[in-house]
Symmetry: C2
Subunit: 263 residues, 2 copies
């Protein structure tokens, strides 16, 4: 959740330096949670309801824990925040806290790439990052799923922050984007939001973070790092950055809906 950025203040919520700070900060959160997760084996049965059935549920252990966590967090209004998107919208309950007055910074939209993110997470990101020699250890099933929930929620938040980035870009170059959006020129919108130099810098910084945070500074736990830095970089390069762009493009494609924008 990590709302160090103030989403109640319209000036700050769309301030690019604030958004940038938040995205860089989330790299730490994501790296920390991944380091925690990969101390356990991959534990594939927790993602497979047929391999490890949950009584009175069709969900896998992991899905069960994620949905339960979302249900509890919905009660403290997590999903009222414009940067939080659920994986299981059907389980959300009415908050026990009064609503907050979030500024309406984003255009109304229904963009949510969590289903895709979860598939990538289970089938691509985790298998590449979990390098534990142990194939499976049932006493770590609950611990693994707990770490998964923290990590996946942080990844989701990072990726859906793309909406704020897209809104800022739209406001900065409104004319250009209105034209591309009217034409539904997805490719050109994708090009317009891409900054290869920034992406390269993100990946370099991430590698350095994975190495630094994944190594005992006094060498107490031996030579090996606690996380494969290349797997962290690949996670961002192949999934986090592309999904963020997808969020940005999908958001922009809906940016003129219901408005009389420059007709």
């Amino acid at each position: 959740m990590d709302h160090a950025i103030d989403l109640l203040d319209p000036g700050k919520a769309l301030d690019l330096s604030n958004i940038r700070f938040q995205l860089i900060r989330l790299e730490d959160t994501i790296t920390f949670h991944l380091i925690e997760r990969v101390q356990f084996p991959l534990n594939t049965p927790i993602y497979d309801a047929s391999a490890l059935p949950i009584p009175d549920s069709k969900l896998s252990l992991f899905d069960w824990m994620l949905s339960e966590q979302e249900r509890v967090h919905s009660r403290v209004r997590r999903y009222q925040s414009p940067d939080e998107y659920p994986f299981f919208p059907e389980v959300l309950e009415t908050p026990i806290l009064p609503p907050l007055n979030y500024v309406k910074t984003l255009h109304p939209n229904d963009v949510n790439v969590n289903a895709k993110l979860k598939q990538y997470y289970i089938h691509k990101i985790l298998p590449a990052a979990c390098t534990s020699a142990r194939k499976e250890a049932q006493e770590t099933f609950g611990s693994s799923a707990t770490c998964d929930v923290y990590l996946l929620q942080a990844l989701s938040r990072r990726i859906h922050f793309g909406k704020f980035v897209a809104e800022v870009k739209f406001r900065t170059e409104t004319e250009r984007f209105v034209e591309l959006i009217r034409k539904k020129d997805t490719e050109a919108i994708g090009d317009a939001i891409t900054n290869s130099q920034v992406e390269k810098k993100v990946l370099e910084r991430l590698k350095l973070k994975a190495k630094t945070y994944g190594t005992d500074p006094d060498g107490a736990s031996g030579d090996g790092g606690k996380v494969d830095a290349d797997a962290v970089v690949a996670m961002y390069k192949d999934f986090v950055i592309p999904l963020t762009k997808e969020v940005e493009v999908d958001y922009l494609l809906q940016r003129l809906d219901g408005t009389q924008w420059e007709q």
Copy 2:
């Protein structure tokens, strides 16, 4: 939870190098979670049920989230693990997963210092560590309590690992401890389990970790570290280490109960 140590295997569960590895590893977990928590203000109302009432509950927001988390985790058998102790034993439910065969490594005991730990956490540890200039920010209440839950659970696990340490010490120097336990000589037991050299090393290593993990390796977020390294050291020096010793002593005082040990 982080069960990198294998508590199903009697040889490993009481292997001192395994226990040591786990304790060092938990320093990372605790430091990571504290770094996450202190990006938010102290937010005192979340610990005070009169300041922020929860409908149909007498709990503070923080206690409500912690008890809900424990309820969910109890269902995936978290509290069957010999290194996990609840803060709200009354909310635990029957697990949805079949029980695991944990080896009986520990002597039966009812040692649980969580009530004390929670008070120290709220009134001492957090106020010292939360250096955010913002006094309070209600949009970070849920996020703060979420981080608190992760951190407090990790601290509890670290502290109650003292039972394994005490058991190893008892098995190594049985005669000496049986005598001290029979005399109920709490002070002498405390002296017998204390290794000032190791404690000094823990604090030095912790300071280095807090500085390393709390600083962007490429300096992206400016000069200031993300966590006050001295506050991390003080947390261990003043609370984690003393509470661990308390767990060790209390465990040893019950170590002969119900046995005919060398009568």
